[in-house]
Amino acid sequence: MGRILIRGGRILDPATDRDAPGDVLIDDGRVAAVENSIDAVDAEIIDASGCWVAPGLVDLHAHLREPGQEYKEDIASGGRAAVAGGFTAVACMANTNPVNDDPSVTDYILDRARHDSPARVYPIAAATKGLGGEVMTEMVALVAAGAVAFSDDGKTIMDSGVQRRVLAYSKLVGVPVIVHAEDRTLVGNGVVNEGPVSTRIGLPGNPSVAERVQVARDLMLAELTGAHLHVAHVSTAGAVELIRAARNRGLQVTAEVTPHHLTLTDEATLGYDTNTKMAPPLRSLADLEACRRGLADGTIDAIATDHAPHAVHEKEVEFTTAASGVLGLETALAVVLDLVRNGDLTPLQLIRRLTANPARILGVDGGRLDSGSPADVVVIDPERSWVYDPYKGYSKSRNSPWAGQTLQGRAVATIVAGRLVYDVDRGILAP
């Protein structure tokens, strides 16, 4: 494999806290050197002037829909969407068909990824068989097959006894249990955040207390069992508060937030656009601000996209019937750069929450640019203006609330394991 020299960029390395101009040399799949200035012969030069050079982004929450729902996405298209968005690694959820609750499915996913995905893929296996919320999965076998975490995401384990045992058992393998924390009996048939907006638009409301109640329960069970609990897509001020208090008590809990919960409120649903329907739903301004503060002060460790492709016929129906979820891989970076632009985070802080922290939570190598680290690198132009057209994107689906919008900030080059896999001008590059 050839050498690559990324020249003249602003290097952001969470591992060494480095935020300084410099060059990065990649050789044989690894970062060979990071210096103020490097001269290299026989190297492909990537001009990173005006750009950031960071470890490749790591998404710890995406739905790649394979096996079983390849009409909306598969590992190949999802992988391409990932690298186009600057992600060099994606953890994929288990709510496929069949559910990833058996090592054979985990194997299948890894095999497909090896052959077809330019991004690394880390499978998250189901916590209970068939996502039924009753019988736990063979965690040891699944981790041996390559699963990096367990989650029933898409669903919630409502039975507290089952949740307790899942958390306890997970200590055998020491990987996180990722929870989609919503009390289904409080959610009812709610589809938008319960509040003045839901009252205005006449759609059933999903109260924020549904998340808070469930997070409270899960935190207490995590405390009891000593397991690593990871709260997926935090959306409410109430949940942020509970997680902060738990961490202050020394609990091993981690949490993530999505780009949409950091930038959109329930007011976005006023036009009944089903591309504003997510689970958990977009919340109030106060919730959004609490999530931003939580992300800034470390209560929330990571940004994760919850990339959820859905086909047109699943979205272009009544709001109550439409599938929940939106695309995220190709737009996440531009959207969360807003937090840097309005001063909530420094560039290095943002990168840490998109790279080192997710990697740490999943227990994978990533989020570092020091010499010897795997060469997963992204070059980001934070000022670059572009119009997002999902019909021209790499995902097979189109369901995005940012469709047609002019976004600012984009990955201009993505390198995985030392190979340039994506370039903004040339697109996905074949091996």
Partner: protein, 311 residues
């Protein structure tokens, strides 16, 4: 005024409402004639696209269209199968290809008329979408009150019922507030929507307090399924606490009128004698419904979107 049609009262200005009411008064006169028909919409096609069944509202729109000499076509797709296999866009585009002059849409889920209006060139009239709005109902309520009281400004209107799930409530709230009335809502706590006072109303869980001094008492229909224990323990308890009868009506003004969008569950929202006798004006509401719908069709039908937005 009404760029895409009539989707809700929330989008209307007071002047729009006045215009509709004045036009409806002229249509009332047509309804008093022997030959209750004018040729205004001759050769125009109005499609009633009712995903949710409703004989009353559909018939009212049909009569309204026919009195204007329009051709009225009823299209009632089976509601739930439509959602899985044929998208709303498909339905809308197919309809648009037939170039209707107006499409009246009713659906059990909020937002569908708006989504259809986004796709059609023809004006869309919302005949009720989920718990969101039912604008023609509110307009006929305004017309009825104005007929009875001579004005709406300064009146106190009390709306009683399952406010959380009622599109009539929302539309009435916007309508009466815009026309200068004070609006109160009364319901058990489980039937009040979140942050209801953000709509500009005063919320009560006591019927007595809500009705005190009211000029207009509007009782909403309770869907019996909701009274099966989930939101309210029983019909008996609902009618005892929130049902309106002559005794409770004494707390309202002496000349208060009683209204109901119909059909009435006698003995639940209204006592039987109130449902059928003065001071209830329910039949006037129905009659005014045709006049209002004629007015709305007159003002909207046949005007493609560009023209309407130029106004």
């Amino acid at each position: 005024m009404m760029g895409r049609g009539l989707l809700g009262i929330e989008d209307l200005e007071r002047s729009d409402i006045e215009r509709i009411l004045e036009t409806a008064e002229r249509m009332q006169e047509v309804g008093r004639r022997d030959v209750k028909k004018v040729p205004t919409l001759r050769g125009r096609t109005i499609v009633n696209l009712f995903f949710e069944p409703s004989t009353r509202t559909r018939t009212s729109f049909e009569i309204a269209g026919k009195r204007l000499s329009a051709d009225v076509v009823n299209f009632m797709p089976a509601s739930s199968s439509l959602t899985k296999h044929e998208s709303i866009l498909d339905t809308a585009k197919n309809l648009d290809a037939m170039d209707p002059d107006a499409v009246v849409v009713r659906h059990a889920v909020a937002g569908v008329p708006k989504r259809i209006a986004d796709e059609l060139g023809a004006p869309v009239i919302n005949a009720g979408d989920g718990a969101h709005e039912h604008p023609t109902q509110a307009l006929l309520d305004l017309l009825t009150v104005r007929e009875e009281k001579g004005r709406i400004d300064g009146l106190t209107v009390t709306i009683i019922g399952d406010i959380a799930h009622s599109r009539v409530a929302r539309s009435d709230i916007y309508a009466f507030l815009k026309m200068g009335a004070e609006v109160r809502v009364a319901a058990p706590p489980t039937m009040l929507p979140a942050c209801v006072e953000s709509l500009g109303v005063k919320a009560f869980t006591s019927l007595r307090e809500a009705i005190d001094g009211a000029d207009v008492v509007m009782a909403l229909r309770i869907q019996m399924e909701r009274l099966s224990g989930a939101l309210f323990p029983s019909v008996r308890e609902y009618s005892a606490t929130f049902g309106v009868d002559r005794a409770k009506l004494r707390y309202a003004k002496d000349d208060a009128i009683v209204m109901h969008p119909g059909p009435v569950n006698r003995g639940v929202e209204l006592s039987p004698d109130l449902a059928d006798h003065r001071p209830s004006v329910i039949l006037d509401q129905v009659r005014n419904g045709v006049a209002i719908r004629m007015a709305v069709l007159y003002l909207l039908a046949g005007r493609r979107r560009v023209e309407r937005e130029e106004e």
